[in-house]
């Protein structure tokens, strides 16, 4: 084991210990809760939206599956592009931002990539459990030409796990990823450019909404699946950014992943080193 490598191991161990004192210091700061009453209002709104869309699920499915809509090359292309940007794009873009940000020592870029990717992963895991549990049939399973016609009420607990992906409609995974990334980007960037809130927010959430519509256009999801996916993604993105920047700004994970730096090595590739001092903090914007 080289002395250089031993030093890195020691530095890593110290980095995991140092935040204890930093946390003790942060305890003296006023505690900012992760969840607020506004979250309850937002969750209630999303839930009401999901329930309200249930009766019109079949209406949207019918109108998006007309031959005119489905044989439109432009709609098909847009649908493919936005779907790919959401998944796997959200992971690829987030991961790339993090790596490039670390390599070029641009903390904001690394921060955006890290928290965006964390949001997408957390939201996707949660959505995956719901998909397996609710076991809702996708719209294409019972089309209008079927003897039963469209059946948006075909749910069965646990069927997503036993019968496969055709019964994992609720919630929409692509919408979850798109809204998680949109919420993380919107919440991160508003800290840097508060005046751009009404430009970045609508652009990001509008793009995420387009992903949801593309999933309905492809007959993979009902409208209510998309609404619930939007809810989960939005909450995940919002809470990840709030947790790391306001509720727990001295998080060990953040210090480890953002306090370390990637630098080009003399023999090619990159070296990974850690700073023992806490990483500089960007002042949080109070909302």
């Amino acid at each position: 084991m080289t002395s250089h490598f031993r030093f890195k191991i020691a530095a890593l161990a110290l980095a995991l210990v140092v935040p204890v004192s930093a946390r003790a210091q942060s305890d003296t700061l006023s505690h900012i809760p992760l969840f607020t009453w506004r979250d309850a209002v937002l969750a209630g709104g999303f839930l009401a939206g999901t329930v309200a869309l249930r009766p019109v699920d079949e209406y949207f499915a019918t109108h998006l599956q007309t031959k005119y809509a489905q044989q439109n090359r432009f709609f098909q292309s847009v649908s493919t592009v936005v779907r790919t940007i959401a998944e796997p794009g959200a992971f690829v873009i987030g991961g790339s931002l993090y790596v490039v940000g670390r390599a070029s020592k641009q903390r904001n870029m690394a921060d955006l990539g890290l928290h965006g990717t964390e949001s997408v992963i957390i939201a996707s895991v949660f959505a995956g459990v719901l998909k397996d549990s609710f076991g809702r049939a996708r719209p294409f399973v019972h089309p209008p030409t079927d003897s039963t016609g469209y059946n948006s009420s075909d749910w069965q607990f646990g069927r997503g796990l036993t019968k496969g992906d055709n019964y994992r409609s609720f919630p929409s995974g692509h919408s979850v990823a798109a809204f998680a990334a949109a919420a993380a980007v919107a919440n991160e960037t508003v800290r840097w450019w508060p005046s751009m809130r009404w430009v970045i927010g609508p652009a990001m959430y509008g793009g995420a909404g387009l992903v949801g519509v593309s999933r309905m256009y492809n007959n993979r999801h009902w409208a209510s699946d998309v609404m619930m996916g939007a809810a989960i993604g939005t909450f995940a993105g919002d809470k990840v950014v709030r947790y790391f920047h306001r509720s727990n700004p001295n998080s060990k994970l953040d210090q480890w992943l953002l306090g370390a730096s990637l630098q080009p090595a003399p023999g090619g590739g990159f070296t990974h080193s850690l700073f023992l001092a806490p990483a500089p903090r960007v002042a949080p914007i109070r909302r």
């Binding site: 031959k67 489905q70 044989q71 090359r73 493919t80 294409f140 399973v141 030409t145 007959n219």
Partner: protein, 179 residues
């Protein structure tokens, strides 16, 4: 044909013969490549499978997907130009059991980490009547006026490997055995 592996449901009986005759009349090159069929994997929904994929590996991936699928009866709608192009196809309803079959196979192929190309369009199953030729207006009008209304059964799928522009080889046939 572009190199790659496609999974199709071959048409059979009198319907297949009449469609083949139409293909020979309007696009002999295409008619010589494959018998009349619906493409289930390798066009829309999921792109062609890598030509280097071993037949056994593909078979192992597909068998679980086909176990629960029952034979199905489908019917063609009126011929149309595919996505506003010069390609003329006989479309079928893209949803229901045929879509479920496509999605099940696609899921297993992805799970088996078999390499496929990205599709340009969502799953839009059809039987192609004319592909290579840019038809004159009069011929296009004749083709679009044809009808193939009788229902047909799909009870098996076949995999074809295309290794050169003019060479295709059937490498696999699997029955739909579900109840």
């Amino acid at each position: 044909m572009k190199p790659g592996i496609v999974i199709v449901a071959e048409l059979t009986g009198a319907l297949a013969s009449s469609i083949h005759a139409v293909q020979e009349r309007f696009d002999p090159r295409m008619a010589a490549e494959l018998p009349p069929h619906l493409t289930l994997i390798g066009s829309s929904g999921m792109g062609p499978i890598s030509v280097h994929t071993a037949t056994e590996r593909l078979r192992e991936a597909l068998i679980p997907a086909l176990e629960a699928v029952a034979p199905m009866t489908l019917h063609f709608e009126a011929p149309m130009r595919f996505m506003q192009s010069d390609v003329v196809v006989l479309p079928i309803d893209p949803n229901g059991p045929v879509r479920a079959l496509h999605e099940s196979m696609a899921e297993r192929i992805r799970a088996a980490k078999i390499v496929t190309e990205r599709p340009r369009f969502t799953f839009t199953p059809h039987c192609t009547l004319s592909f290579y030729r840019e038809l004159p207006q009069s011929e296009l009008k004749d083709l679009l006026a044809m009808r193939f209304d009788e229902p047909f059964a799909v009870d098996a799928v076949q995999a074809y490997r295309a290794t050169s522009p003019r060479g295709t080889q059937r490498i696999l046939e699997l029955k739909l055995n579900g109840a």
